[in-house]
């Protein structure tokens, strides 16, 4: 029986997730921020696995690492083309 509270694995991933969220917010250049966002999405997916939620992890993996970055990058591409 695992003792109550977070396991070492969960605590380590939680620290990474908190650091990842901070990095995403503090990066002020949107194109680099998108890359950080997809890394953050992967970290969240790993955290959800550690929380015994493979269903949510699968959802987060595909949305956070694929769909969201595509949408943000397409928007940035569109905006840059308008500014040229």
């Amino acid at each position: 029986m695992t003792p109550p509270g977070t396991t070492a694995l969960q605590a380590a991933i939680l620290v990474l997730v908190a650091a990842g969220a901070t990095a995403v917010v503090l990066m002020r250049q949107p194109s680099r921020q998108v890359v950080l966002l997809s890394v953050y999405g992967l970290l969240l997916a790993v955290l959800f696995f550690a929380f015994q939620a493979p269903d949510v992890a699968l959802s987060q993996l595909t949305v956070g690492a694929v769909i969201l970055p595509i949408l943000f990058l397409l928007t940035l591409a569109k905006v840059r083309r308008q500014e040229e």
Binding site: P4, G5, D55, L58, I67, L74
Partner: protein, 251 residues
């Protein structure tokens, strides 16, 4: 309000919110001490009642199917609304497209990206389809599988085949498929009324064995239609944004 003042107001407000949050945490059961009986009850009776071995799917598409119907219509409305916003823009754009012309050569897609994208398109479709159709048995279901299927379309674009993408998934068709997916969910719910059960009740035969693909009745069916709806929604969304970026590129 200057940025400095705003930051000050925010930090003060946030400090208050966090204080309340921490105060509330003290009274909560600690992490790992799940208190409520609801989840435990569902885990205990879910398989017997629905023949689905994935209790999360059973909750999504049976016990709380009403909530999921709402979620799905949020998705539907967001995708439709986005189409409305961008389509209006596209007209504006085409009127002023003349002075947009510039002689800039497009670097094109690299061979490495193209080969990788073509190689992975087929397997992605298979994986997405597997996850949509096995949601009642193992982790997965219409939402996750639908997103994976939509990424297969994104890969076709990455392979540099934008024309092929437009041919196999024209936006009006994807719109129609999306509507069919969303409507089918509601129709399944209403047809339960027809046989004298409650809205969205699981009225189909449950199959003989939990854990088999043809088990779980309406859970599998709703999961399938949600998969269709999610796929179409994200194909519409991605196509609209692609159109936007390519309008300038075209000339």
């Amino acid at each position: 309000m200057t940025p400095g003042v705003r930051r000050g107001v925010f930090l003060a407000g946030m400090a208050a919110v966090l204080a309340f949050f921490l105060w509330g945490l003290v009274g909560l059961p600690g992490f790992g001490h799940y208190p409520g009986p609801y989840g435990d009850v569902l885990n205990a009776i879910g398989i017997r009642q629905t023949h689905a071995t994935d209790i999360v799917s059973a909750v999504n598409f049976d016990y709380r199917a009403m909530d999921t119907l709402g979620e799905e219509f949020i998705l539907f409305a967001a995708a439709t609304g986005m189409g409305v916003v961008l389509r209006h823009l596209r007209e504006e754009r085409e009127r002023s497209a003349v002075d947009e012309a510039r002689d800039r050569t497009d670097p094109g897609t690299s061979e490495a990206v193209r080969v990788a994208a073509i190689t992975f398109t087929g397997p992605t479709v298979v994986v997405g389809w597997y996850i949509v159709s096995h949601g009642q048995v193992s982790p997965g279901g219409g939402f996750q599988g639908g997103v994976i299927l939509a990424t297969a379309f994104a890969m076709i674009y990455l392979a540099g085949e934008f024309l092929a993408l437009k041919r196999i998934s024209p936006v009006p068709l994807a719109d129609a498929v999306e509507a069919v997916g969303a409507a089918s969910f509601a129709i399944i719910g209403i047809s339960a009324l027809g046989v004298g059960a409650a809205f969205l009740a699981n009225v189909l035969p449950l199959g003989h064995m939990p854990g088999e693909v043809d088990s779980a009745g309406t859970i599998a069916l709703i999961s399938f239609f949600v998969g269709i709806e999610v796929t179409a929604a994200f194909v519409v969304v991605a196509s609209e944004f692609l159109e936007q970026t390519l309008i300038v590129r075209r000339h």
